[in-house]
């Protein structure tokens, strides 16, 4: 990778070049200003690029070379489950019968797509232990909000309009409190105890008849299984609240413990994490929501149902919360997740979890002598180290993360969860080999040694990337969020 700027595509423009091929206009031309009125005819054209097809390929290939994905190298970004994205998924999602169908076609002409969706729902019901599933939410946070809106509707239907609070642990993903706010709830934080688990005493203190729900990730963001889950369920259900499962960490417990059996009433899944819809540089995801029987009436509409030999969308659902998204969800991602589940089967999904957990524990044990391990017990699919030992030597976790870039790795999630100082959250996933883990561990140990012997090399990292650390303060203070074509005077 060379360190020169890759020009913006706008800077490659040359008037008169084209990169498209439209069909010939085979109907009579019209006079736009006559048809639309002069005011509606665009005068200044949008300044889009003017480049050839090769220019396009070269530009985006150059950009791709300045980007690190799972296929480029190890990507142990905690809580994101950066596992291998199977190529079969990509092929299947591009089958014309899946990619080129319209959501409003007559149902009789899209039965194959509906069958796939229905069978995916059936698989997700079994995997989560829930009674019904909707595929409508577009991503995890969207699923959270959908689930909370259902809980809200459930309480309201019971005349429970005073349930205004959603309890969230201090270690929760930021989306949990944000989704609660969007759904109109007030967030109450429950503390973690010295073992990194929800403090039951504090939970008892914050619950009440105003509790709508508790949102919980299990295992939590420290990678630790909430052992008191049944007691917690009893506390929440005891005051009439509902238990919400954030499925971001499902990769840790497949075939080992199902949310539905732990007492959860609502579950969302991140199909782009556990079920290999690719992360896409930040999306699209897919966030299906599963519920227990008493919440089925509130599911978003339409609900996909089996009807005789075929499938149908059921719109006649008077208690439904309504529509959370146009159409039926991110179908293309759901196709990928379904392909993955069918590839792995029951034996494969069980091994996925077992190896994800084995990999994480192996890494944790090998790294523990070199960094602080705030919670010393078996982890699940991820674990959290603290860089406080290195901080005392003047090197921050951020510096160590940047140093990892020089070794060709994407760093772990850093400074999260919030309840660990200088946190590094490492999630290897099951698709990485022991050799990859060992190489990464060696790099981490070397960095720990550098912190003691030659801290500058870490503090000034990265040294090998296409760009050095960027001035984020400047970016925020005087935001430049788009390119402007220079005027003639410039």
């Amino acid at each position: 990778m060379h360190k020169d700027n890759q020009p913006l595509i706008f800077e490659m423009t040359k008037e008169g070049r084209v990169g498209y091929s439209l069909p010939e206009l085979d109907v009579p031309e019209v006079d736009l200003s006559e048809l639309l009125g002069q005011e509606l005819v665009r005068e200044e054209l949008a300044e889009l690029p003017e480049v050839s097809e090769l220019d396009i390929m070269r530009h985006y290939t150059a950009l791709s070379n300045r980007n690190h994905g799972v296929d480029s190298g190890f990507y142990p970004l905690g809580s994101c489950t950066m596992k291998y994205n199977p190529k079969i998924n990509e092929s299947v999602a591009r089958y014309s019968g899946f990619a080129n169908i319209h959501p409003l076609q007559e149902e009789s002409t899209v039965q194959g797509a509906m069958e796939l969706m229905f069978d995916l729902q059936e698989h997700l019901k079994e995997i989560t232990g829930m009674d019904e599933v909707t595929l409508q939410p577009a991503a995890g946070a969207h699923g959270e909000w959908t689930g909370l809106m259902m809980i809200r509707a459930y309480h309201e239907a019971n005349g429970d309009t005073h349930r205004t609070k959603v309890i969230v642990p201090d270690s929760a993903h930021g989306t949990n409190p944000a989704s609660a706010t969007v759904a109109g709830f007030e967030t109450v934080t429950v503390k973690s105890n010295e073992h990194g688990l929800v403090d039951l005493e504090d939970l008892k203190r914050v619950v009440g008849d105003d509790t709508a729900a508790l949102m919980l990730t299990n295992p939590n963001t420290l990678g630790l299984f909430e052992e008191d889950i049944l007691e917690m369920a009893a506390i929440i259900h005891g005051v009439g609240g509902k238990l919400y499962y954030d499925g971001a960490n499902l990769n840790a417990v497949m075939s080992k413990a199902r949310p539905g059996d732990m007492g959860f009433d609502v579950v969302h899944l991140n199909l782009h994490k556990t079920f290999t819809g690719p992360h896409g540089g930040g999306g699209p995801g897919s966030g299906p929501v599963g519920v227990k029987a008493d919440l089925i009436p509130y599911l978003p509409k339409p609900l996909l149902v089996k009807k005789g030999e075929g499938y149908a969308f059921d719109y006649d659902r008077p208690q439904s919360i309504g529509r959370v998204k146009p159409f039926y969800g991110n179908f293309g991602i759901n196709v990928r997740a379904y392909t993955y589940i069918r590839t792995m089967g029951p034996d494969g999904l069980k091994k996925v979890t077992e190896y994800a957990v084995l990999n994480a524990n192996y890494m944790m044990r090998r790294l523990a002598p070199h960094f602080d391990l705030p919670y010393d017990r078996h982890c699940k699919h991820e674990f959290v180290l603290s860089g406080r030992r290195q901080k005392k030597l003047g090197v921050r976790t951020l510096d160590m993360a940047k140093r990892l870039l020089d070794f060709g790795y994407h760093p772990p999630t850093i400074y999260f969860p919030l309840n660990v100082e200088e946190a590094m959250m490492i999630e290897p996933t099951e698709t990485e080999s022991k050799e990859t883990l060992d190489d990464f561990i060696d790099a981490m140990i070397q960095i720990a040694r550098e912190v003691e012997e030659n801290p500058e090399i870490v503090q000034n990292a990265p040294h090998t990337t296409v760009i050095n650390r960027l001035d984020e303060t400047k970016a925020a203070r005087k935001p430049i969020l788009r390119y402007h074509k220079p005027t003639d005077s410039e």
Binding site: G19, L35, E43, A99, G184, V357, F416, L481
Partner: protein, 455 residues
């Protein structure tokens, strides 16, 4: 059984268990209480080999009627457009699609720069100051516009035109419900927003007025006339717009829109049974710090090299938690990339040409329908869509069209009681004159036959 995505060998497993100091993998799950332990394996379909699974799923896909084998006249918010082949080649580069959110800018410059370019292209097309990095889809983007407006104006009422996509209106209502915001519909007049009703309805409690441009019926709303009504009441002007149309139409920014949202699906993104598509969100500079979702900004490193970072993150859920402007986290980044490539391929001239082709072909369809004696519901210019009174059941008509290899239009009666028996017909640049003629001929023949059987 061996699995090709799982590299663990027995030897690896043994060595790793030794390092951990446990006898078996099972011990690592000893913290899960016995009462909640799942025993055995899931009762799901068994694993399939690569070739047998692709065979099965290809057969399943072939049960669906796709817009390659059938000439599609169905739009209603999702369109069969020209998808430059180069788009799929770019988004198939796995450095893009196997990466996540660009949290580490030094190794994510490719994604960050591509999104910066996307933001620029959307801002250019919409005539707005800035755009974000994408939303889930046009419907949720519109709903988020409502939330932004309510927060900004501290008002609790949204006025949404009945000519906005019905499913988007449903989503606006859902989001508003959570925030206890009222959503009131502005009625239609001749297939457009009823201006007299709008003037009546807008008041000091109105946070925003939402107009679709071109609207659900393909009519081009008079934004110039609407804008002062909205702003005089102190409300924000939200426009939902098909960005492809803006290649030829005066952009909402020129008419004083505060927020312009929509879906970039028409630019290179497959219909995919309704998703994933690509919402966009563009605003005036004044609202920059209220935008939901991610923003990419330009900056420099210590050697003065230009680079890109995620910026203004203090708005977002991972920093602000319950005080965030939105709960959105994952967005539609890969589809924003797809749309960028399509917008780049079309470019300055192609964006105009494709928009004009859509207007021209829709106009041709309208003329042919009129010639055949059909009643067109609304007059004026049309983009992509034209509403025709079918004199029959739309469902039966579509069944007849399907027999002839065509996917018919949208049954408007499903969303508007007053338009029972009306079909919303979409025409894009993909439909040839021959296909349009065949379509008109077929519905004409169907209706004649129907009339003959009643006679």
């Amino acid at each position: 059984m061996k699995h090709r995505f799982l590299p663990m060998t027995q030897q690896d497993e043994k060595e790793m268990l030794e390092v951990i100091g446990v006898q078996s993998i099972e011990e690592l799950f000893s913290d899960i209480p016995e009462k909640v332990r799942f025993q055995g394996e899931y009762n799901i379909k068994p694993a399939k080999s690569e070739s047998s699974l692709t065979k099965e799923l290809a057969q399943l896909a072939s049960k669906n009627a796709d817009s390659v084998r059938y000439a599609s006249f169905l739009g209603a918010g999702v369109y069969d457009h020209y998808k430059p082949i180069v788009v799929d080649h770019v988004i198939s580069r796995s450095e893009f699609y196997t990466a996540y959110t660009p949290y580490q800018p030094e190794i994510s410059q490719g994604e960050l720069q591509a999104i910066f370019e996307f933001q620029t292209m959307i801002a250019e097309l919409t005539g707005m100051d800035i755009a974000n990095s994408s939303m889930y889809d046009g419907g949720t983007a519109l709903a988020e516009a409502g939330m932004l407006a309510a927060g900004q104006t501290r008002r609790k009422k949204i006025l949404v035109s009945a000519a906005v996509h019905p499913e988007s209106r449903d989503v606006v209502r859902m989001y508003a419900l959570g925030q206890s915001i009222d959503v009131v519909e502005i009625p239609l007049k001749d297939g457009r927003t009823d201006m007299d009703a709008l003037k009546e309805m807008v008041d000091e409690n109105t946070a925003t007025v939402m107009i679709q441009y071109p609207n659900f019926f393909g009519q081009v709303e008079n934004l110039k006339e609407i804008e002062p009504i909205v702003h005089e009441a102190g409300a924000l002007f939200t426009v939902s717009s098909n960005p492809l149309a803006l290649g030829a139409l005066t952009p909402p920014g020129k008419f004083g829109a505060d927020i312009t949202v929509g879906d970039a699906q028409p630019f290179g993104i497959p219909e995919a049974f309704g998703g994933p598509h690509c919402g966009y969100f563009a605003v005036t500079k004044k609202l920059m710090r209220k935008v939901p979702g991610r923003l990419v900004g330009e900056t420099t490193d210590d050697e003065g090299r230009r680079g890109f970072v995620l910026t203004l993150q203090a708005r977002e859920q991972h920093i602000r938690r319950d005080k965030a402007t939105s709960n959105i986290c994952s967005n539609q980044a890969l589809n924003a990339l797809a749309a960028s490539v399509a917008m780049t391929a079309l470019g300055k001239q192609g964006a105009k040409e494709i928009a004009i082709q859509n207007i021209t072909k829709t106009h041709y369809m309208k003329q042919q329908l009129k010639k055949a004696g059909f009643e067109i519901a609304f007059e004026g210019a049309h983009f992509n869509e034209v509403v025709v009174k079918t004199k029959s059941s739309v469902k039966e008509l579509n069944a007849a069209l399907f027999e002839k290899g065509m996917i018919g239009g949208y049954d408007l009666g499903l969303s508007y009681d007053e338009f029972a028996g009306h079909m919303l017909i979409a025409v894009t640049e993909q439909r040839s004159k021959e296909e349009i003629d065949a379509f008109v001929q077929e519905i004409d023949a169907f209706v004649r036959e129907l009339e003959a059987s009643h006679a």
